[in-house]
Subunit: 682 residues, 2 copies
């Protein structure tokens, strides 16, 4: 008998319910039942984000309420995040508490993984038209007794005669359809050829427009661009959260998830592939008339032409997508391709492969045209992946004289510095603090997240605005704010404002001389903290504060980044860069002056600091529309010198110094009068 | 409600039973229940081989027995094959009678598709060693912080340094395993590379032996050679009947089956693929110790090495097969690859593709190594396929001075004539008569089939021998013979003997002057016939005879072949060939003198007539072990001039003449005294 003992679980407030195997953690149970609970650390019991309240089935084993409990014993790790009072109320960490009987679980709002606001529009960068897939139109003579040459040879000879294409292969699945397609088209057909090498599609008649997708698989966000390859037009941008987020917020927790679960890699890979397929479907559905109920259904060609005559609707199906390019950091790259990521998680971090790969979409189970290839851009190193290569081929610093510093801050910081003579890259462990993780009230860029902050230097009063609401706090009623936490761009603002207003000192410690109602000691642990938002402005029913520990986390992150830039500049033999480019969503929200104030990266003329948006995605798009860019990507991935910062001379010393906030006086003379003198002169 | 009405069916004597959908023919029902009934014409109601007896559930609708019947109405086509008496006993054609209720069906022995005796051993032909897949051994340095190059680049650089291999691709599935394999092998690995282009396997440690299979997919028989590619040794030859035989005996009936059934191509393709997979498994199992119960199970490497130390057992698994080559006629080629075969069934017969194809085994669902390619040799024309190309690269007539005629007689005759200066090929519609089909008592080369015959010129007494019994009729008791019919080689013997002994005349008609008990008029239709075996020598309970119609069929076949050769010789401008080579099982059983007597092919010195066995399979093996042979095959397939015989000048005239038996007097002076004068001088 292999009967498995199961328990009934209900999650509130979503109401999701079902039976799960006894012994699962509440996080594991939540995944099975499709409930999203925040797990920034991926279940390693260190982030404390997955707090839940056991409503029924909770009885402290050694308490008076009952002699039995439906959850496993309290764990030491939970003490850091749950105080005695909460513990009494049934709070547990979802990653620690295991199901031992039927339970009703309440997931507090702060623990719910919200739907992130994603903005990853395509930029208008210059790309030469030279796609990997080309469409060729041919008119063939019919076979006769005198000339009974086979179908493939007939078409190949004409492609050679008319376009000079020689030695063409044909994809097996295209070959299967070839004979019928030729006759459907009455021997007039359009042929899709990949890299002038392989026939991957034969369509009856003359076709001009054809379609591809460029995809950026980020650790947190996946963005996809649907392009008309013939016209280079971006028809649509679609995006989603990386469905792997449920296995852990950052790269390392996903690698850990793989190492701790036999089917971890398979599950994570299947999730992202499924995600890509849903993006493809979503983008295709958007080309159909809105009142068409059955989307993406096979239509006969006549019906399809009728709808298309409306011109507004392309009526694309996934099988119309004939090419795809993908960028992503090395871990996302490996997990997507089911390559064992564990070796790139430990020194010396070698990836399984650097160079770009062309893999049949069907081998990856990506549901676009069955004969299409997926082109995955190359990796530079274990911690500088194809996404960074995408940034490089979009920005082309190797074609410029000026010395550029390109920063891509995600959960990991990727840095490139150089010009046409030399390029070096490295990664720095900024950690997720700059994105809001690991902080007491940090969260992703979702509605309710504080994104801008001002602190009055005199009164230390705080004004702020949240995502999803245009009106600032000072113009709103408290209950209108619906504040939930602080996201990445808010944190940068906060840090700069805390310093500029004198709440914290140059070294990062709280100024204990300040007198205002917001600065206080936490009654539980007696540690100093500063209140950003009062409980009545929030949906979580408590004050949103920043603690000394939070500030240290931000300092560690900004120190890693600053120190990385400095060490690379030293290697490059320069003490100043001509231009700073900031990629990613972080770059689009960043206040350049505040970034300079806090010393996020080395000084640069303020108008030479530019945001380049989702440059990684732009690189993927460039590679979709220009095959030379694929070559260029392979070249650059092997010609950027990767530097492992942690083994650089005096790394520790540099890092410690970089955690300080730099002197402001000389750097920002224009701030005199705006910032208190004692701060400016610190 | 989509309930389908079903009926219970039992087949005797096999006892197979089950429920089938009402409305199926008995042949369709037999397929569903796995009962093999002969259907030479593929259900077209013209061969009459699928006679069955309805035992229960048979009541003539208009008869006295009952007012209802469980089978469909009698059809006109059945009258040709079933006489009134048989009809009364419940005989029906399986392709005509449809299931309308529960029935018990008896399949007479003559209608059972027997297991054919197949002999397709590999010949010892000379092949240069230059396989498409090579194994390379490399020892790599481990990654370090100073040199953290990725795994693929590490291995590629060493393969370039040590073996000069550049620009290597890697199969995606091989890449997935790469990192683990390198570490299992402690950075010492053997790499399988296909065509110096693509890494398709990485194995820990140093491996020398590796394996491939060469396969000949015949219309009737499939033969496979398991080879050690490293040593060129043929380890095993395995063969089976083509499982598609149940859809029709010859190429045209299979094409018809496809055209008449929507899923016909998919079913026939799936059957042959499944057949190939079972041959692979069979050949691999034969390398395991006989008492090993769990064959082909995954073993850990240690256990496997232990077994292998015995040296006698290789313990191969299908995944050890790293390369495969396939030949087959154009129809078998198309059906295997699921290419629409219908266009090559109608003039001008263009195939979907001529050139050789390299297709991933996984795309074909052939279960050998998951990254291996299958190489399918090229086709010459719609009716001269990759099997003929196999014959050519095995025999290399294009490298010789002497003028060779190469004949491959299967269900279709394929002819090549030429030397190093020129090669022409054609096909001739011999039909299946020479293989025993379409004759009253024709059958495949299976136990009980008459394969040798002698007829005494004076008494016209017949002596014969059957497959599976060494003793001739004249030395056996009647009941020992267990005769069932006449197979291909027996037919050739019979025809020559009928003529030499004076039973038939030069024009093919029975000599009505003969007086013996064997020559008689059939009491049913008053047509002349000659008894080969008396009922008491058979298992079918009736006299085995040859009729005037049978003789016409043989004449048509031999006429087509002879006329084809003659027309080709005319095109070539020659009146004599230096050598005749006969390929296929037919060639190995043929009596050269009798073939000359009956005028099967143009005259040639008798010791220059040679059997070349399964030369098509030899060609497949050559292509497996030598990649140049693949190039040669593509070259020859496009440089043999294909001739459509039926449009040649005076084809009809030539064909009519060729049906005659040629004058013997001048051709066989040595037969004087052996053959009666009146025959010799006819």
């Amino acid at each position: 008998m292999d009967e498995v003992e199961k328990s009934k679980i209900i999650f509130q407030p979503s109401g999701r319910r079902g039976e799960v195997k006894k012994g699962l953690t509440i996080i594991e149970a939540s995944r099975e039942l499709g409930v999203d609970i925040e797990t920034l650390c991926g279940g390693k019991k260190v982030c404390g984000k997955c707090k839940v309240r056991i409503e029924e089935g909770f009885f402290e084993k050694y308490g008076i309420a009952s002699s039995r409990s439906h959850v496993s014993d309290w764990q030491e790790e939970e003490e850091k995040f749950i105080n005695t009072e909460q513990r009494g109320a049934g709070y547990r960490l979802g990653c620690c508490a295991r199901v031992e009987g039927d339970i009703l679980i309440f997931v507090p709002e702060e623990s719910r993984a919200g739907k992130q606001v994603v903005s990853k529009a395509a930029r208008d960068i210059h790309i030469e038209w030279d796609p990997a897939v080309n469409y060729y139109y041919v008119e063939l003579s019919e076979p006769t007794i005198q000339e009974p040459t086979g179908d493939l040879e007939r078409i190949s000879e004409e492609l050679n005669r008319k376009y000079g294409l020689k030695n063409l292969d044909i994809d097996y699945l295209t070959l299967k359809r070839l004979s019928n397609r030729l006759r459907e088209g009455k021997w007039k057909v359009t042929v899709a050829i990949w890299m002038d090498r392989e026939i991957i599609q034969v369509l009856p008649g003359k076709i001009k427009d054809y379609y591809g997708m460029a995809i950026d698989v980020g650790t947190t966000t996946v963005a996809a661009y649907l392009c008309n390859i013939a016209t280079m037009e971006v028809l649509d941008t679609v995006s989603m959260m990386n469905p792997q987020c449920k296995y852990g917020e950052d790269v390392m927790s996903r690698i850990t998830y793989h190492m701790m679960h036999q089917d971890g890699l398979a599950k994570m890979s299947a999730d992202i592939i499924e995600g890509l397929n849903s993006l493809v479907t979503q983008a295709c559905n958007a080309t159909h008339p809105p009142n068409e109920k059955e989307k993406n259904q096979k239509r006969d060609n006549k019906k399809r032409r009728e709808i298309q005559q409306d011109k507004q609707y392309l009526c694309l199906n996934p099988s119309d997508i004939i090419d795809m390019t993908i960028v992503g950091n090395t871990a996302m790259h490996h997990i997507l391709l089911k390559l064992n990521p564990e070796y790139m998680g430990i020194a010396p971090f070698p990836p399984a492969v650097h160079k770009s790969m062309d893999i049949k979409a069907r081998d990856l189970e990506i549901r676009i045209n069955e004969s299409a290839y997926v082109h995955i851009l190359p990796n530079e190193a274990g911690f500088v992946g194809a996404d960074n290569v995408g940034v490089l081929i979009a920005e082309e610093p190797y074609k410029k004289d000026e010395m550029q510093l390109i920063i891509d801050i995600g959960t990991n910081g990727e840095l490139v510095i150089g010009n046409k003579d030399k390029l070096i890259s490295s990664s720095c462990a900024t950690g997720p603090a700059l994105e809001g993780a690991q902080l007491s009230f940090g969260m992703r860029a979702a509605p309710g997240a504080i994104e801008r902050i001002k602190i009055d230097p005199d009164s230390h009063e705080v004004d702020y605005k949240v995502i999803g609401r245009d009106t600032w706090r000072s113009y709103s009623k408290s209950e209108e704010m619906q504040t939930k936490g602080i996201c990445g761009s808010g944190i940068l603002d906060l840090f700069a404002e805390l310093y500029r207003s004198g709440v914290i000192l140059k070294c990062g410690r709280f100024n204990t001389n300040q007198k205002n109602s917001r600065f206080r000691k936490n009654p539980d642990n007696n540690q100093p903290e500063f209140v950003i938002a009062w409980a009545n402005e929030t949906t979580i029913g408590k004050d949103i504060v920043i603690t000394q520990k939070d500030i240290r986390q931000i300092q560690l992150a900004k120190g890693a980044l600053y120190c990385g830039c400095k060490l690379m500049m030293r290697r490059m033999g320069i003490d100043k860069v001509d231009r700073v480019k900031i990629a990613g969503a972080f770059g689009t929200h960043i206040d350049r002056e505040k970034a300079l104030i806090m010393g996020l990266f080395p000084d640069c003329e303020i108008d030479k600091i530019v945001s380049i948006g989702n440059a990684a995605g732009d690189g993927a798009r460039a590679a979709l529309l220009n095959r030379e860019k694929r070559e260029e990507a392979n070249w650059v991935s092997r010609n950027v010198e990767y530097i492992e910062l942690t083994v650089e001379k005096d790394f520790q010393q540099q890092f410690m110094e970089a955690m300080q906030i730099p002197h402001m006086k000389d750097r920002f003379p224009h701030l005199k009068g705006i910032v208190p003198d004692e701060i400016l002169n610190q």
